[in-house]
Amino acid sequence: MGYLRPDGQIGIRNKVSIIYTTDCSRVVAQKLQTLFPVGTQVFGYPGGCALREGPFHKIVALGTHSSSAAALVVGLGCEGTDAYMVADEINKSGRSVEAIKINEQGGDLGTIEKGSRILVKLIQHASTAERAKMTPADLIVGQECGGSDATSGLASNPITGVAADLLIEAGGTYMHAEAVELLGCADILAKRAVNEQVAREVKELIEEAERRCFERGRFSWGYGNIMGGLTSIEEKSYGCLSKSGTRPLQGVLRRYALPPGKGYYLQVGEPESGFFHGDPEGINQFAAHCAHIGLFTTGCGATTGGLIPVIKIIANPRRMQLIADHADFDATPVIRGEKTIQEMGEELYAEILAVAAGKLTKSEIFGHYEA
């Protein structure tokens, strides 16, 4: 059973979002979350002094995420990313949202007092959210890989590819990103595209990434990869692409919004960052595209999460021992030659459904809501 939102989305978690619109209001927002830790989440735009379309849309998208029941927007008052503007946008989704400004409340203390009373109201309101039945067709999942090693291309990514296919066959939606890790995959992805336009878009995207790498003379490739057994950049890229399964490519996602339909999509990161980002950021970008759950495959092991539940998948047996507390899915049986990719892919799909139904991931239990 999920949580039904006024805009028709169904969420797998139920949180009141405390959103800061600038670095100056971040402290107040975080203090408010500490005062009311249950059923709340805090995120925002520290650079909000200036009003930038991308980040503005991102915090609105996160505020109207299916797991966000309501929102309190906290601003200083002089920043370009105006708290009332953000609140108005979120309000269009039918959600309860309020905004307060520090310079109207007489400083941090006044804001904390007023904000606290608003949160009490919103948290209670969120707890009465209508419930709705959810099927896999309602689910949106994003996959990110970080700290990759040999096991990523041999096990973790192919396993997520199998799970992706199962999710899509059941009517769900799946996305991944990082065009710079897909060098050499332009043609193969274009072949999977549902129409000419998508084929053109994905080709242009990957060719642009390749051009940039050739220009800089820098590729995501080095001696370590070769020593580890990778013979060419293509081999590395195909190992990365194996996370995408085999289903048709529906489109390339750019603007933060619900994907236009179900199925498999490639997501493009933010142009400002040169299409490169850290892993929690990658997860949160998926969240801004309405992903319910993030899959994070890692060879080196990582402890991070994101705003949405993150299922961490590790296939390296040595790393698994070191970081077992933070792992959600043990993919080492494939590397130990004990299970097949297909078998483990089916197990991962079952885990995705369990998390959607309420099972908490390690990132949630440890409080790793990096945002």
Binding site: L154, L183, G184, G229, T231, S232, E234, V334, G337
Partner: protein, 102 residues
């Protein structure tokens, strides 16, 4: 039975070692209805590839059913496949750059 190597796609002509394997070892990989036996002609380290069958010079090396490069020389079944005998035309940087003698 524990597998010592993995076959990622039925179209592949290489398999990847899941442990450090030794010259002379007999290795079987299987996927769906395909099962391939090979006797290793060289030591194959974890994460490295060996040929599942004889591959001719100029032939494509396939992994995940896709070409990762072309054979620089004839390769026999069970031989190590890596930068010394396989190179991509698009992204194949010369092996000397990496100081590898092969």
């Amino acid at each position: 039975m524990k597998k010592k190597a993995i076959l990622l796609n039925v179209k592949d002509n290489v398999a990847t070692a899941l442990a450090d394997l030794e010259k002379g070892e007999s290795v079987n990989v299987s996927l769906d209805s395909i099962s391939v036996d090979a006797v290793l002609r060289e030591d194959i380290e974890f994460g490295h590839k060996y040929a599942l069958r004889d591959i001719a010079k100029g032939e494509e090396i396939l992994k995940y059913s896709l070409p990762i490069g072309k054979a620089l020389a004839d390769i026999r079944a069970g031989e190590w496949v890596h930068v010394h005998n396989c190179r991509s035309e698009r992204f194949g940087f010369h092996r000397q750059k990496y100081g590898l003698n092969a």
